[in-house]
């Protein structure tokens, strides 16, 4: 079972078993501060009998006039003992339920995922996300020049899900995995 609570800075002391996961990033304190201060309602945790079982870190950014006002998922991670319960899905829906109305009312939610992370891609597809573009060399060490030089090892998908504020569905597209972009072209 799961309850949701706002993330507090001290919680960082209680997420060792989550953050020791090899695929979960440990950020600088400045990073956590930044999200807590600028987007406090989009940084929250899931809890089972007082144990933190997962958390979501997200932010809102972009201009509405440019159809870029959106929510970006920066990190979502679940304790290994609480996986395959639909918790990551539920956390994503919880976020959606916050930002799909006032005061946030963003046009879409997006995130970046490695092309090879089929597991996560499946998770997001089940939630209604689709690939908006393939960012060539997004996870590479150097910036690529050629947008057609795709490489599964280092390419990422920018996945999006449109929200009710995007009434006409202008922020998503079909066959996005065939649209190649370079990391330097990505503003958001």
């Amino acid at each position: 079972m799961t309850s949701y609570q706002p993330f507090q800075l001290e919680d960082l002391y209680n997420i060792n078993s989550i953050n020791l996961d090899p695929l979960t990033e440990n950020y600088t304190l400045e990073f956590y501060f930044d999200y807590l201060i600028r987007w406090p309602s989009l940084f929250f945790k899931s809890v089972s009998h007082d144990t933190i079982t997962g958390y979501m870190i997200a932010k809102n950014e972009g201009k509405l006039s440019k159809l870029e006002w959106h929510t970006h998922i920066s990190a979502v991670t679940i304790d290994y003992r609480y996986r395959r319960l639909g918790l990551a899905s539920d956390i994503c829906l919880f976020l959606e339920n916050i930002v799909n109305k006032d005061p946030d009312n963003t046009l879409f939610i997006d995130l970046f995922v490695r092309v090879q992370n089929l597991l996560a891609i499946q998770l997001y597809e089940k939630l209604g996300y689709s690939v908006y573009r393939r960012v060539v060399g997004y996870y590479g060490k150097t910036l690529p020049e050629d947008r057609n030089q795709i490489d599964d090892e280092i390419d990422g998908f920018d996945m999006r899900k449109k929200l009710p504020a995007d009434k006409e569905g202008k922020t998503v597209r079909e066959n996005g995995h065939k649209v190649y972009a370079l990391p330097q072209e990505i503003v958001f």
Partner: protein, 720 residues
């Protein structure tokens, strides 16, 4: 010439140069309060006895220059004159009540920087008088934070009332949060309900509201959240159940509602299934067992099943696990095991073939069971060695499982296998704040167990983390106030307290200092000498996470305090520091060896403070002998700890009295002598033979070779 040059000259003890610059400036700008403040700052550094008088004289001139007020309050604070530090600003409030806002903001920021909540409250209170609503909420929060630091109920009540009176009507959820901290429950409920009519609540306020309301109100609000707003939250289910019962609804009625909800929403199964258990946990036993059983049947193939049901203390008839080798059946076996059925190693071995298909970053869930088994049998060196072999075998399939690596570090540390400890520690990538909670896995007693340049660098890197941390916290506290993110601030302050008073921080500093002395390292000596001197330990907060292993860290708060008192005496050998050291030793609960060791120090120190008393010297002459040391088993890290401790002691004693110095040097030579060299090896070889009798495979042989090698590398004989 820049004025910063003057400060730099003072800070780097270039006093003559600083004085010449100040004189030049003062003659050019005789009215400037800043140069007068710099003059006092110089006096302060030079320990000039007129410093206080000069500082107070300047204070009484009501300086308003921001640089002056900042420096003057800093001087007062460093001299322990906290009242005067506040007076720098309070005087201005009295004299120029409408004209000192920039100074007040400076006072406010400084108070956050030095974590002084009393000054924070005062500065925000004075700021609030300028009419800006923002400052009124700052002041309210200031009162609340002050209440967190005091125990007197009457005072708390008074400050809470004063705080609530300052607050205007809240316009944001964050302001509403401040109001909820200071107002009584009924007022808060009213404020929230009024707010709700025009704006949505955020999660913080929803939770505050849920905690305050009851009865009919709680029932309809939880019903709305769960049934209309998709707020799929277990605590809300609990409140829905309790309020339904409170207003007289029958359990069967509530049961029906939950079942109905469950049948229509795909994602809510776990919460609603447990809500049914919760519903009958205080009701009919038969129904309670029925729903526990249903829960178990639904979720026994998920790892969380046991943990979800554990608080309900239910006795279940377990279902048998299918034959197929699958993740589901493995999880089912693990749950059954935790409920009391099955054998950890049989489960581990049975499903091991599943590890072939898993990705490297996923963990084999049965590891948890066998780790617990291994760690519950580690009484003897033989069992520990067996434990290491078994854990290393697990890493073949799961090289990245942090639970295995953390426990390996603990077992390696028993024999002080330093390089293997480090390699495991590197595998789990302890980063940033984890240094504070998990750093001890590697750095526990490192200055004794591996006093080397590499250890020094490791500890200095950890120390740097604390330096950036301090800056980050105070900068962001100011930002949070500026942006009005009040519901994060109380926890930021708590977090700040934990970091600046952290055990690991104090321990890192002292260990750096010890290695610097052991290795005669000149690179950081000046810096850490003054750091050690300036550290005054009143309260230590232990943030070390010891939930990851059965073996707890060896360094204790008590011993750390004694070590600081010891170093303080060595840096400033006076009666005050002697008494402090002596007081800490009295009534302390140290190991036999440490009790003896610190008695040596006590006698050594008494020779300094009471040179006429010969008993201390006689005690040292009698005891400073290799035969007097009660060594632990040479196989263990305790032995290395004792060896290094004695070397530290000898090095310290060498600089005391001539006769004691001679004895110390002799003892040190004996400690380094080759007689000791082979003891650990001989014991380990004996142990290896014993192990080979019970576990004789190539894997075991290879592992033992790796372990011997590590032991040799960490041998105390290599620490010249």
């Amino acid at each position: 010439m820049e004025d910063t040059q003057i400060v730099e000259a003072i800070d780097s003890r270039n006093y003559q140069f600083a004085q010449s610059l100040i004189s030049l400036k003062t003659s050019k700008y005789p009215q400037s309060s800043y140069y007068q403040a710099l003059q006092v700052y110089l006096y302060h550094h030079q320990h000039n006895p007129t410093t206080n008088d000069k500082a107070i004289k300047l204070l009484n001139q009501y300086p308003t220059d921001l640089r002056t007020t900042s420096l003057l309050s800093k001087i007062f604070l460093e001299r322990g004159l906290n009242k005067e530090a506040d007076a720098v600003y309070e005087n201005l409030v009295k004299k120029f009540p409408n004209n000192c806002q920039p100074n007040l903001l400076q006072w406010f920021e400084n108070s956050l920087q030095i974590n002084n909540i009393r000054s924070l409250q005062k500065s925000t209170f004075h700021l609030s008088k300028n009419g800006d609503n923002k400052y009124k909420f700052w002041a309210g929060l200031g009162y609340h934070l002050l209440c967190q630091t005091i125990e007197d109920e009457k005072q708390i009540k008074l400050f809470t009332t004063l705080g609530s009176k300052i607050l205007p009507k809240p316009e944001t959820t964050h302001e509403l949060y401040v109001s909820s901290l200071l107002n009584d429950n009924d007022t808060t409920i009213e404020l929230i309900e009024e707010f709700m009519t025009t704006k949505p609540l955020d999660l913080d306020i929803k939770l505050v509201y849920l905690d305050l309301i009851s009865g009919e109100k709680l029932f309809s609000y939880t019903e709305k959240l769960l049934f209309d707003e998709n707020f799929n939250d277990f605590n809300t289910w609990k409140k829905y159940i309790s309020s339904s019962l409170e207003i007289g609804k029958k359990r069967t009625e509530i049961e029906e509602k939950i079942l109905d909800y469950q049948s229509t929403r795909k994602n809510a199964k776990r919460n609603t299934s447990l809500a049914l258990v919760e519903l009958y946990s205080s009701g009919d036993e038969g129904d309670f067992t029925k729903y526990c059983r249903i829960y178990y049947e639904k979720f026994n193939k998920k790892l969380c099943c046991y943990d979800d049901l554990k608080p309900y203390n239910v006795k279940l008839t377990l279902s048998s696990v299918g034959d197929e080798i699958s993740v589901e059946n493995l999880n089912h076996s693990i749950n059954n095991y935790k409920f009391g059925e099955g054998d950890a190693w049989m489960i581990y071995e049975k499903y091991l073939s599943l590890t072939k298909d898993k990705v490297k970053t996923d963990f084999y869930p049965a590891n948890e069971l066998v780790i617990a088994d291994i760690m519950s049998h580690i009484e003897t060196p033989k069992e520990i060695l067996e434990g290491i072999i078994k854990l290393r075998r697990i890493t073949i399939h799961d090289p990245l499982d942090f639970r295995v690596q953390l426990n390996l570090i603990k077992l390696y540390s028993y024999f002080n296998m330093q390089d293997l400890m480090y390699s495991s520690y590197e595998t789990i990538k302890v980063r940033m704040l984890q240094i504070d909670s998990l750093g001890h896995f590697y750095s526990d007693n490192l200055s004794y167990l591996n006093p080397s340049k590499a250890s020094l660098n490791h500890l200095v890197a950890n120390f740097r983390f604390y330096l950036t941390c301090e800056q980050d916290i105070s900068d962001n506290l100011v930002k949070a106030f500026e942006k009005g993110i009040y519901n994060k601030i109380p926890n930021f302050i708590k977090f700040n307290n934990r970091v600046i008073k952290s055990f690991e921080y104090y321990n890192t500093v002292i260990q750096i200092w010890q290695i610097i002395r052991f290795c005669n390292d000149k690179s950081f000596i000046g810096y850490f000498q003054s750091t050690i001197k300036s550290i005054k330990i009143d309260e230590i907060i232990d943030n070390r996470d010891s939930s990851m292993s059965e073996i707890k860290p060896s360094q204790t708060i008590e011993k750390l305090k004694i070590e600081y008192a010891k170093e303080h005496f060595l840096l400033q050998p006076n009666e005050h520091n002697f008494k402090k050291f002596n007081k800490l030793l009295e009534g302390s609960k140290l190991s036999t060896f440490d009790t003896w060791l610190f008695k040596l120090y006590l006698n050594l120190f008494r020779m300094k403070t009471k040179p006429q008393d010969t008993s201390s010297k006689n005690y040292l002459i009698k005891n400073l002998k290799i035969a007097k040391i009660q060594w632990s088993d040479p196989l263990t890290k305790d032995f290395m700890y004792q060896w290094t401790s004695m070397i530290y002691f000898c090095k310290t004693a060498e600089s005391f009295d001539e006769e004691i110095s001679k004895i110390s040097k002799r003892l040190k030579t004996e400690l380094y002598s080759s007689e000791w060299k082979d003891q650990q090896k001989i014991s380990f070889n004996e142990l290896k033979k014993e192990i080979k009798q019970v576990m004789d495979t190539d894997f075991v042989k290879d592992t033992l070779d790796i372990l011997s090698d590590s032991l040799n590398k960490a041998s105390y004989m290599n620490k010249k």
